[in-house]
């Protein structure tokens, strides 16, 4: 988990062209949280991990957590935000998806996590297929 969060963090650091790094960071964290299913795991532990690796504040993480718990997280909005920040560049999107893919298969792989990853992946790529 640490390793993959660092990859996202590095992706953000290396993106001089990102217009709004904060938006990108929050949208990335939201999609990761959908995949790893923080409802089922330990939010506090994840909150600390996201603070450490993505520099996400406890409040930002809590907002994502509440949205997920209330089934109110808008995946389309987060996907759009990342696509805009990555200038809809297919190479960059694929790099980002490779990292998301790793979250789906962390500690083995559950059907729910993998389906969530597929759903997000196809929202990013449908126009390229």
């Amino acid at each position: 988990m640490d390793k993959h969060l660092k990859e996202i963090s590095n992706l953000i650091k290396n993106q001089n062209r990102l217009e709004n790094k904060k938006n990108f960071k929050i949208a990335s964290a939201s999609l990761i949280c959908c995949i790893i299913d923080i409802n089922e795991t330990h939010p506090k532990e994840y909150s600390l991990l996201f603070q450490k690796n993505l520099n996400l504040s406890a409040e930002e993480f809590e907002k994502i957590h509440i949205e997920i718990m209330n089934d109110a997280l808008n995946i389309n909005e987060n996907v759009s935000c990342i696509k805009i920040e990555l200038k809809n560049n297919m190479f960059q999107i694929m790099e980002f998806l490779k990292i998301l893919n790793q979250f789906a298969i962390l500690n083995g792989c559950t059907q729910r996590s993998y389906r969530e990853f597929e759903l997000i992946r196809d929202k990013f790529l449908r126009e390229f297929y």
Partner: protein, 135 residues
């Protein structure tokens, strides 16, 4: 469809499923090779060098995971997808360790199946483009 440029090796021990998936794949791919277990699949892989490998997990002689491990030893970059109903958690943990990151969920949803294959094809195209730019 991106797949038409790529060859696929499909490994499945159940004959009816094997023929069905082969029929689904053939119109969209450059060539489809089929094998009925991991041992045959590995031999065919060495002979044909397919672009993408698809395999079931539970099979006689050599299972899909053992075959994937042997293929990854030959070519660590080889894209491999495993068919799974997600009931084989120990296998899936091992699959992730050997670098298999794509899964085809059972029961098969044809649209999702092709989305996953197209995703693998895009990864392949990008990797090849990166290699040609660097080389």
């Amino acid at each position: 469809m991106r797949l038409e440029k790529f060859t696929i090796l499909y490994v499945e021990d159940d004959e009816i499923t094997r023929e069905l998936i082969k029929e689904i794949l053939e119109p969209s791919c450059k060539k489809v090779f089929v094998a009925s277990d991991g041992e045959e699949g590995l031999a065919l892989y060495k002979e044909k060098k397919p672009d993408i490998v698809l395999s079931d997990i539970a099979m006689p002689n050599m299972n899909g995971l053992e075959m994937s491990e042997a293929i990854k030893e030959l070519n660590p970059e080889q894209p491999i997808a495993l068919f799974t109903a997600f009931s084989e958690s120990a296998f899936l943990k091992k699959a992730a360790e050997i670098g298999v990151a794509t899964y085809i969920l059972k029961p098969l949803d044809e649209e999702q199946f092709f989305n996953s294959l197209n995703y693998m094809a895009m990864e392949l195209e990008m990797n090849r483009e990166a290699v040609s730019q660097n080389g």
